[in-house]
């Protein structure tokens, strides 16, 4: 769980970095997307790196979901009778919403792939996309409800990462003292804010017109 989670964090960090290229303009962004596909050539075939990454991600998603389902089922089995009254005193909202937050993310990712990678959901009806991801991106976020969907997803992502980062460090046994635990918590905040915030910049900027075609 922790390993797949950390892998995701690595991926979204990289992905966010890539997205921010949108600020550098159409060319740089498309160049970057193109470059991704050529990375490792000629040692790897075209899109080789991308596929390695995709396979890695798919495996991670499977592992991650399998773990999540297992934990969920164990938890449900461990408390078949619920409390009439139960208060939360030591936990964060994020830690309690990991499961439904994760499901939300899963739904979002499917949506997102349809949107950007498979290019099935396209607000501009296939005019952009494919060779011009930049155009697709701007078209997408020029649509207000798309932006809202993305922003909501980023809230879910931020929450998931806030706890997930800390949790994975704790699960891997790196938080053996009060100090290191506080540090892991801080890391959780930073990762959540940087990633969710970083991702949000692009759609917001498109919406207010800082980024345009």
């Amino acid at each position: 769980m922790a390993v797949s989670g950390l892998l995701f964090i690595g991926f979204v960090l990289g992905h966010m970095y890539g997205n921010l290229k949108a600020f550098a303009g159409e060319e740089a962004f498309n160049e970057y997307a193109h470059h991704l596909r050529e990375l490792g050539e000629p040692m790897l075939p075209h899109e080789g790196f991308l596929w390695i990454m995709r396979v890695g991600l798919i495996v991670a998603v499977i592992v991650h979901i399998a773990c999540a389902v297992a934990l969920w089922r164990r938890a449900a089995a461990a408390r078949p009778v619920k409390y009439v009254a139960k208060k939360n005193t030591g936990s964060s909202l994020s830690s309690r919403t990991m499961r439904w937050g994760g499901v939300t993310l899963l739904v979002f990712i499917v949506w997102h792939l349809l949107n950007f990678t498979i290019v099935k959901v396209n607000p501009s009806n296939g005019e952009t996309g494919g060779d011009n991801p930049y155009g697709l991106l701007v078209d997408t976020f020029d649509t207000w409800w798309m932006t809202i969907v993305y922003l909501l997803a980023m809230v879910a992502l931020g929450l998931h990462l806030h706890h997930g980062t800390f949790s994975s460090l704790q699960t891997l046994g790196f938080t053996n003292s009060a100090v290191s635990r506080a540090r892991a918590r801080a890391t959780g905040w930073i990762v959540a804010i940087v990633i969710a915030g970083g991702f949000s910049l692009v759609p917001l900027s498109v919406l207010v017109g800082i980024i345009e075609k």
């Binding site: 934990l71 164990r74 409390y83 009254a85 139960k86 706890h163 938080t175 053996n176």
Partner: protein, 247 residues
């Protein structure tokens, strides 16, 4: 003080059980929570109703026998055991909901009493140092660094009450197991069995039906002995090391 108590009553393991409402009066601020229940029981006895069963023994916060989920908090609103919780933490006219610990491995025996023998079985699986009587070397022949000994002590104060399980949304006993792993793992005497211990204890924990830990942290907040979350991290670390070394 006058109070309304909503108490889980269940006549036996097979009964379905449910919440019953009682009124108690004449409660003083200086009473402990359990003494308040004693008063209720005395009143029930007079009325010919069977008293509410609940566990307690030392009534000074050290044996771990008392339990109770009070208004949704394990051992109630203070960081202490139920027997050391006093009625001055409540107000006249309050309604208090009292439930047993809820976890599949802690089945209800009657009313508010649950069976926590799963904890004993977890200790049996490895929560000890194998040192037969009479075979011990001179106590000072192996010094134990003071900071490690202090950490061992801090977590050895676990009273085995089960509040961590009761509070954990996953029904996990990781704090309890982590406390023992850390206690014995910090001392030189605990080293020889360190890696098998963690594998065996975690195995037994899972086998008993406790949930997995997702680091939510309700357990440490509920723990009357303030066992910190780092014991769970220590548990994970030891487990990772043990598995990596083929234990």
């Amino acid at each position: 003080m006058n109070l309304t108590l909503k108490i889980w009553r269940q006549s036996g393991p097979d009964d379905k059980g449910g919440i019953h409402t009682y009124q108690v009066s004449g409660i003083s601020q200086d009473m402990s929570f359990l003494e308040m229940l004693d008063v209720l029981n005395e009143q029930l006895n007079e009325k010919g109703e069977e008293p509410v069963a609940f566990d307690s023994d030392c009534r000074e916060g050290i044996c771990g026998m008392c339990s109770l989920m009070i208004n949704g908090e394990a051992h109630g609103p203070e960081v202490t055991t139920t027997c050391q919780l006093h009625m001055r933490s409540f107000n006249d006219g309050d309604t208090i909901t009292i439930e047993p610990w809820r976890a599949e491995p802690f089945p209800v025996i009657k009313d508010l009493v649950v069976d926590r023998s799963a904890f004993d079985r977890i200790i049996q699986s490895g929560g000890f140092v194998s040192a037969n009587t009479g075979s011990a070397p001179e106590a000072n022949s192996v010094p134990a660094p003071r900071d490690k000994a202090m950490r061992a002590f801090n977590v050895a104060t676990c009273i085995g009450c089960g509040a961590c399980v009761a509070a954990c949304p996953n029904g996990s006993a990781s704090l309890f197991v982590g406390a023992k792993i850390t206690h014995l793992g910090e001392l030189p005497q605990g080293q020889p069995e360190r890696w098998t211990r963690v594998v065996d204890m975690v195995g037994q924990h899972d086998h008993e039906g406790f949930g997995g830990c997702t680091n939510i942290g309700e357990c440490a907040a509920a723990c009357p002995k303030e066992i910190p979350l780092d014991v769970i991290s220590q548990l994970n670390k030891d487990l990772r090391t043990a598995l990596a070394n083929g234990h």
